[in-house]
Subunit: 500 residues, 2 copies
């Protein structure tokens, strides 16, 4: 097993570089002084070049091939070899000049996208978007695929994901969730949230509330940090140093609280990784979908439950004594669960969110497959919003130009958001079987049993299994929209008294 030891040593080297990169990227987002940007880019380019050089070292290819023909590897060893193969292939299949071309185009496209959005003019972004689609197709061709080009891109963000697997998930959502939303809209009863809108919510108190909640859930602030940043994220170098951020808006206290619970979900996942697998790919968190399941679990499945609101109400009253005077559990619960079709994905509620994603998924599939032209995209976007959400963007900035992803060439990324929602529902349904007292535990703020369940079924399993296998092992079912549809249906019925 000398080859295996050598491979691990090389992977450790690569992982340390990526830890360092994680730390300085965090610094860049959170507290770097503005003039430092140019040289920071040089540092990050150095990190990325050095990591790429180490990863594409031919010796790694030799070791992997040797180990792939080895018998008697255990689960973890096999996973390390499989994951090393995956990274090695992804890094070596793309020619260096192509990687550079993509990087340059990304910088250019982000600028034109920013301009296009600011001036609400799709034509400014049009050519760069067309080029981004072309590059994404070329990337898929380099990486290879069985059925569809788009599959090669989906696989980048969640290994094993294909159109064949994703289509039925979105079909289930479209058939069940879209009618539910229409029923809510037809019913026309909007909860009274004037107590939110008519008050100001001081940042300091928001910080206290979200910090207490993150701590109660089980985020270890001795091995991590909370900071403020324009774009909330969870990062940092390793499980002993997990750093997440949130942002504050004094006219909306929910953004920072639910944003914090979201990042706390990501953060507890990172902190819960198996420490005997430090520096090994098998010990890393699984794909983006599984990661998102942890953030959505705490943000939505737990955070927007009536039981959680019951536990959290006294904390709310402690942090905002005047604003919360006379507000009861029911009002709080209704307010955090307002269902209302809106144009902007990142502000969407739990029910409508996945339809936003579905629209992007269908569009990406068509773009990569050549079934739609870039010029037809803006109108296609608006028509799908009309069809599935019953609303139409008054301009391009609120329509097709709202997301940064395509300017970054990240085709295939969006579906992982919805996978996260579906997995979260599946996981909680399975956890409830093992935790019959779940609701009363949440009601009294005892989050430990649920966190422990996630620790053993998800966090500790690292990347030993493929994402879909992990969900199946943890829940007994392969990925499916059913649990989410059941969850949402019963919640909407309780909230709005309607059924799909």
């Amino acid at each position: 097993m000398e080859a295996y030891e050598e491979l691990l040593a090389r992977l450790k080297d690569i992982d340390l570089i990526s830890q360092i990169g994680g730390l300085i990227s965090w610094d860049q987002e959170v507290l770097m002084p503005p003039k430092a940007a140019v040289l920071r880019a040089e540092q990050l380019a150095w990190i990325s070049k050095t990591g790429h050089e180490k990863l594409t070292d031919q010796r790694i290819g030799v070791l992997i091939s040797q180990l792939e023909s080895e018998n008697g590897l255990d689960d973890v060893e096999m996973a390390n070899v499989r994951l090393a193969r995956e990274s090695y292939d992804r890094a070596t299949k793309l020619p260096t000049e192509f990687v550079e071309e993509m990087a340059k185009h990304r910088s250019r496209a982000q600028i034109s996208w920013t301009e296009a959005r600011a001036s609400d003019d799709f034509s400014i972004f049009r050519d760069d978007l067309a080029k981004a689609v072309e590059l994404a197709r070329a990337k898929a061709d380099y990486l290879g695929y069985d059925a569809l080009r788009y599959d090669a891109l989906l696989d980048l963000y969640e290994t094993g994901l294909t159109v064949e697997r994703v289509d039925p998930l979105f079909a289930g959502l479209r058939e069940n969730v879209a009618p539910l939303i229409r029923a809510v809209m037809d019913r026309g009863r909007r909860p009274d949230i004037s107590w939110i809108e008519n008050n100001s919510w001081p940042q300091e108190a928001q910080e206290k509330l979200s910090h207490s909640v993150a701590e109660a859930i089980g985020f270890d602030f001795g091995a991590g940090r909370r900071d403020a940043s324009t774009h909330p994220f969870c990062g940092g170098p390793n499980p002993d140093d997990v750093r997440w951020t949130t942002r504050y808006n004094e006219s909306d206290p929910f953004g920072s609280l639910y944003g914090s619970m979201h990042e706390t979900g990501h953060g507890t996942y990172e902190q819960g990784r198996r420490r005997d697998l430090d520096f090994q790919p098998a010990g890393q968190a699984n794909g983006l979908g599984v990661h998102e399941s942890q953030s959505r679990l705490w943000e939505n499945q737990v955070g927007r439950s009536r039981e959680f609101c019951e536990w959290a109400l006294p904390l709310w009253k402690e942090c905002f004594p005047e604003n919360m005077e006379g507000v009861g559990v029911e009002e709080l619960w209704q307010a955090v669960n307002l269902v209302e079709p809106s144009l902007i994905r990142v502000e969407a509620d739990e029910a409508t969110y996945n339809l936003h994603i579905m629209i992007r998924y269908e569009i990406e599939k068509m773009l990569i497959g050549g079934d739609i032209e870039v010029d037809d995209l803006p109108d296609a976007w608006d028509e799908m919003y009309e069809e599935f959400l019953g609303i139409r963007a008054p301009n391009r900035a609120l329509g097709v130009l709202q997301d940064i992803h395509w300017s970054m060439g990240a085709f295939g990324y969006f579906p992982t958001y919805t996978l996260g929602n579906l997995y979260a529902a599946q996981l909680l349904e399975a956890a409830r079987d093992d935790l019959p007292d779940h609701d009363s535990q949440i009601k009294r703020g005892d989050f430990q049993p649920l966190l422990d369940w996630m620790r053993s079924k998800v966090h500790n399993r690292g990347s030993i299994l493929m994402p879909a296998e992990l969900i199946e092992e943890a829940t007994g079912d392969s990925p499916s929209p059913d649990a989410f549809v059941r969850y949402l249906g019963s919640k909407i019925e309780r909230l709005y008294g309607v059924k799909a």
Copy 2:
């Protein structure tokens, strides 16, 4: 000149690694969560190993040798070759196993020193100190020297420094400053600082005061940061991202203000480097002595002047309106210039500080030269304090165990502190010749002319010259204690009405 370009490219690579190391070390000191320490050490070890590998690449040696025989290099090119030779030799002359042995011993000795100081028991540190001395001697032998072993160590912190050069500097101080202090003590008049001692000084107001002063001096907060840390320092990756720290004590407002002015001095030096020499050794700040001259200049030469106090008084009153009621310029100036022999170096005033250093220098010289045994060190320390400062430590913790330096193997470092004080006095004397309105400029808070002078004479000169050459170019004189003695003598006379 292909060899030169290749050398520069390799030096840039090494500099980027050290920028990254600077950033993550800053993070470690300032905001890293406690549990992250173990893996942070792995990251830093990776940085240090990678940097060392690149620096000791034989190809660098080949390039340097080739360029050393080249004619027609300009000043900057010659400096780059000379400085590359210096780093290359320092890195290659020490065998890898020896470097590892030193690193391991350093970790061990820091632990035993910490224990020894906490329990006031020199014997706990004794063996590790003896070993540290032995290693320092071996290091000197590997590095080589002409006259004395200790010279090889002095040279590490300020290139070209030798006992032959340092001895006359300290002799000048001993002969002139020691009698001055005795005269102050004999006079026995201690200014009334009860207005400091009897008040509490809120941290927030201290932050405001020190921030305003740093900004007024010319530190660019768009290219740097100010934070709090237990051990104040100035660090960060490069001139666009200079980060200094301070600490706050609510019963002493001077610590944070003068600490901030000190670090601001270091910070303006870093921010003032020639940007066309980015990534080149010739563009780096000069040795530790010159760096310390910039911190001492603003902290002491400017910051403790009567003119500065006159400008700063309204700021003081704005930050601490109640505490400062009735306090005038004279009281403030007297308070920031209290001369009083004390046991702890880091708390010493401007007059006594260099005697603390002189004692350490004399002891190091004897230790490395084998003229004193480690067992005799604690008493020798106390006797020298008695002789030069007229006070004796009641225990070892306040005596020989007070500084961390020897546990880190940093023999030869201390003298650079005093060099900084001497250089600061020489530089200001020379600057006054070019800035006849200096005093009135300071009085009205116009720090730009002095900063500009330092920019052109010191900051922009990088490491193109050796430290002593830089001082001579800037001031017309080689390093000497005279300017400092004149400065201190005249100040003490104004403050205490005494002469040596």
